[in-house]
């Protein structure tokens, strides 16, 4: 091991994926902001001809945020954390470097083509699984390459103990593999009909209720393994590292891990409440959703307790602030989810904007905050430069926090209002409102949401600018900081 003196971690892949994370984050949020505005001001639907309607753009927004932004964030942080906690450099394996680079380029080109295909309306129309089969195949290849890298790095590791974050990345890899494969089973019609029609078109192997079951098994767990598991993996690394405090209870982190895996999967049927899925299963879906609070809060509380006795860092270090707020939003949305999964609440909440609000306090407050802090933490170490501006981070923090709060409160009110109006009856038992009345009532909330979206996007642009300036003009540092990320005042 003495020969390692000159050996360094190789951040080239982490850098590349960080670039994509920022690019896709910006694109996804830009489109999201346009969508928010379209619901408030429908004339904005006609900016891009047939390609610019709300409906055509919505899958673009969701897919870019999930498969573009979040997944590149997961890759970027993996190629950073993975080496470090396993104490092995990618430089030590030509093979893994090559695999990683192929993964990167395939992903970059594939993502651009997929964006074009969705714009053109080439879609399977299953939510968060819209890509048609040729793109599915590319996704699978990319995913397998990533898996190869995880296993490979574990295989050549110097540190034989696996840190908890590695467990989370591993679970993310396995979970998404299984889900994606089963949900996207489809027959390409071009080949089964003797060469007729579009090459891209396919038809689902499952029909109707079955398709719905598989889809929501996928949809629910894709959130688990895409938006929860890997992000928890990130915070288990970045918060202790940034604060210099080891995680409060390592045992608790192991428990929450298995608890999360076990419970999350059973809760999927809560997406199909009051549908044609058997009653008892819907009930179990609710029960498990409520149980889900425990492991989720286990992790979040573990994070908060990690800061025990070190709370002054919260005021001194904006990154700590970001991460602690992210855990708080995580707690919020993991209590909100189970509430929505209670059958009587679900009857009102389902199909309304409350669900949209729930998704966004989770994604804007938890996922995006966490990934941004990760990038703030990694950049000075990858580029050997100090973060350009603390003021900018502080402003960004308050702007985006206000935006998230505005976003979810307006959507809660909108959702509950509309849910109540749909079911309101007069003294004779007749429906009180026509559908369009319930749409008109939402206008003010849609306007507030648009403002929130613009604020959040502005905050993200400050983040982009700050990172750009750091990389190009930040003060150089000689030595990698051990804990706290250096930020110019």
């Amino acid at each position: 091991m003495q020969s390692n003196a000159a050996l360094e971690y190789d951040y080239s892949l982490a850098k590349k994926f960080t670039f994509l994370t920022i690019l896709f984050g910006f694109l996804g949020m830009l489109i999201g902001t346009l969508l928010a505005a379209q619901l408030a001001f429908p004339s904005l639907n006609y900016l891009l001809g047939e390609y610019g309607t709300f409906s055509r753009l919505r899958p673009l927004h969701t897919n870019i945020v999930i498969f573009g932004f979040t997944v590149s964030g997961i890759f970027a942080t993996w190629f950073y954390i993975g080496q470090r906690v396993l104490k092995v450099s990618l430089k030590e394996s030509k093979f893994l470097m090559t695999v990683g680079n192929i993964q990167f380029w395939l992903y970059f080109v594939g993502a651009l083509l997929a964006v074009v295909s969705l714009l053109m309306g080439i879609t399977e129309s299953k939510e968060y699984a819209q890509f048609e089969w040729p793109f599915d195949i590319v996704v699978v290849i990319i995913w397998v390459l990533w898996g190869l890298n995880i296993m490979g790095l574990i295989g050549i590791r110097r540190e034989k103990a696996l840190y908890i974050s590695v467990w989370y990345y591993l679970a993310c890899f396995l979970g998404i593999s299984m889900l994606y494969l089963f949900n996207n089973m489809a027959l390409p019609t071009y080949f089964t009909s003797g060469g007729l029609g579009s090459f891209f078109h396919s038809v689902s192997m499952y029909s109707g209720t079955n398709d719905a079951l598989v889809q929501w098994w996928y949809g629910h767990n894709a959130v688990a393994f895409g938006f929860t598991v890997p992000i928890v993996g990130m915070i288990y690394y970045f918060l202790p590292k940034e604060s210099g405090q080891p995680v409060y209870s390592y045992k608790l982190s192991l428990l929450s891990f298995w608890g999360l895996l076990f419970v999350y999967l059973w809760a999927g049927s809560h997406h199909l409440m009051w549908s044609t899925v058997p009653d008892w299963m819907q009930t179990m879906g609710s029960v498990f959703s409520v149980l889900l609070i425990l492991p989720s809060w286990g992790s979040a509380i573990n994070m908060l307790l990690t800061m025990k006795g070190e709370w002054q860092q919260l005021t001194e270090n904006p990154l700590i602030k970001f991460m602690i707020l992210a855990s708080t939003f995580y707690m919020l949305s993991t209590i909100e989810g189970p509430i929505q999964a209670v059958r009587s609440v679900n009857a009102i909440a389902h199909f309304t904007d409350w669900i949209i609000g729930h998704v966004h306090d989770g994604v804007l407050g938890w996922v995006v905050f966490m990934i941004m802090s990760a990038i703030y933490h990694m950049t000075p170490r990858m580029f050997k430069r100090e973060i350009y501006s603390k003021k900018l981070i502080e402003t960004q923090f308050w702007l985006q926090t206000t935006a998230v709060v505005l976003y979810f409160t307006s959507m809660w009110i909108a959702g509950i209002t509309q849910g109540m109006m749909w079911r309101a009856v007069d003294e004779y038992g007749n429906l009180m409102y026509s559908f369009i009345d319930t749409v008109n009532a939402l206008h003010p909330y849609y306007v507030i949401r648009t403002i929130a979206a613009i604020m959040y996007l502005a905050g993200f642009m400050m983040f982009m600018y700050n990172i750009y300036k750091t990389v190009t003009a930040g003060r150089e540092i000689e030595e990698e900081p051990q804990f706290r990320t250096p930020i110019a005042a």
């Binding site: 034989k160 103990a161 840190y163 690394y237 209870s249 428990l255």
Partner: protein, 69 residues
Amino acid sequence: MREEWRIIAYVVTSGILVVMLYGYILYLYRSEKSGKRDYEKYGKLALDDEIDSPVIEDKPASERYKDEK
């Protein structure tokens, strides 16, 4: 009839999983109390993660565990 079987399967599997989860909690605390294992030292993995930081375990668990009875 099939529906009943399924409910049984569901309850039994989740029962087993619950028992295992709690078993795991017990296992963790017991093995730490008896001094067999110190889980909390793994928390350091995130902090001392330079490539030349000392490793916490230099043998894979499969070999480490062999030494125990």
